[in-house]
Symmetry: C2
Subunit: 255 residues, 2 copies
DNA sequence: CGAAGCAATTAACCACGATCAAGTTAATTC
DNA sequence: GAATTAACTTGATCGTGGTTAATTGCTTCG
């Protein structure tokens, strides 16, 4: 189903040491720029970030590649520079449940790293992607002296918990239709411009099947509900693009 | 449905200052003993814990009382000293979904506290309970100078995330029957002695309806499945006590 | 002691959403 | 541009689990 499992990895450290001591500076500058994408690194100075260099490696991964499976040991976490990643459970019967779909700027795997347990989900690229892998060793060392850095990490974990709680809530007390509408509205909020009124369009970030699974629905059921919403005049489907003629009406259809 | 919402609270600080400077010492000793129940405080010395005193208040709450509703502002977190608490979502139609059932030694509300957002769940006592409320102010101050303390908090959050992921997994790819069996096995593990073989008995921590909701089932469905399992000879139900004649057979029935 | 209230069980019925099976686009590859 | 595969849609059918409602203990309380 997927390409063979051979990520083309190369550590930033290696790249730097190939050139020489002097050439380290621009490398650090790049690392600095890249890591700053994650909120937890934003408060750090370039000199502090430089200390991460030896623990960071860059990963370029084509679409469909599996970054890790459930059960694999975890020795760091990932930060997405570009592309798209899905996290998913896979049951013994082969069923798959997508837990999250992540984009550039987001990170994953921290929680597991802090627990010294193997991964509970698998991660797979949904598009050609480049990511950074930050090794747990360096990371832990850097945490020890820096409570502010710790605070950032805590903030990140708390936010993730919050999101997951939202998922649990919608899985357990919202219908499929409600979950889809909620998804569209949220997607519009994050992608679209502020305070959109009236007509807006959303491009789905990946295949409908994957999004369906993310919402705990089968592809078929997802398709049917999209059809219902179309018939109700709430949306117009055009391939991967969803037009919403009147977003406030869609919002209103939730209650 | 419930008693009026008037928790009988009293700050440990107030209690201490009623007596006098000298009487503060034993109070701190008690606080020390109580807080140490939570893993995040275990690494702290009594002198450090003493600094929390002004931010901690003790809450005695009768069964059925609501500690907070969704939407209430959060200015600290709770540690259960005795009793039992449920966390639950409530939908606009009045449906309730129990997210977790917590016992003495466990804490809740940290994640929300770190995010400066209102509660997303409500908390209600399932039995007469006593808890400590630790104010966010003191807590944050104490974190600033103590990376090890931060590490403990991170560990706690990571663990909670892990648990929640387990819930999401079971909600989305296990059947009701599987979830119940899984629950019984986990309950046996935490309550029962190590490596039990053969016949064991479990006393359910609270009403079947509440546990059903925790497992994303209705009370009726829960009852039916318990019946099925009984007919299959896998369990024997005796009120709130579940006897398991052969626990390895129950385990085996999962695949 | 009986009334009231709550927890639990049981049964009949129903619906949401899954499964299975074709069929249709749409995107790749040769 | 035909061939192949993946993504999506549509329809028929089925089943898990929800809904409703009646019944039976089991407390609690007057």
């Amino acid at each position: 189903m997927n390409q063979p499992d051979t990520p083309c990895q190369e550590t930033l450290h290696t790249t730097a040491s190939c050139t020489d001591g002097v050439a380290l500076a621009p490398e650090v500058g790049r690392l600095c720029r890249l890591l700053r994408q994650a909120s937890m690194f934003q408060s750090l100075g370039c000199d502090e970030i430089a200390r991460f260099a030896r623990g960071v490696r860059e990963i370029k991964s084509p679409k469909g590649e599996i970054l890790f499976h459930r059960g694999d040991p975890c020795n760091g976490f990932h930060l997405i520079l570009s592309g798209q990643i899905k996290l998913a459970f896979t049951s013994s019967e082969g069923n798959e449940k997508v837990v999250d779909i992540l984009r550039a700027g987001q990170s994953f795997g921290e929680a597991v790293m802090f627990m010294d347990k193997p991964y509970v989900v698998m991660a797979q690229t949904l598009a050609d992607s480049t990511l950074l892998h930050i090794g747990k060793q360096v990371f832990f060392e850097e945490m020890n002296g820096d409570p502010l850095f710790c605070r950032k990490i805590i903030a990140g974990l708390a936010q993730r918990l919050h999101r997951l709680m939202g998922d649990v809530e919608s899985y357990s007390l919202r219908s499929g239709r409600e979950r889809i509408i909620g998804y569209l509205l949220r997607e519009e909020e994050t992608i679209g411009e502020a305070a959109s009124v009236g007509r807006v369009s959303i491009r789905l970030p990946t295949s409908k099947g994957t999004i369906a699974s993310r919402l705990n629905l089968t592809q078929e059921h997802f398709s049917r509900i999209l059809n219902e919403l179309t018939n109700a005049g709430l949306i117009e489907v055009e391939g991967r693009t969803i037009h919403i003629p009147d977003i406030s009406r869609l919002r209103g259809s939730l209650d």
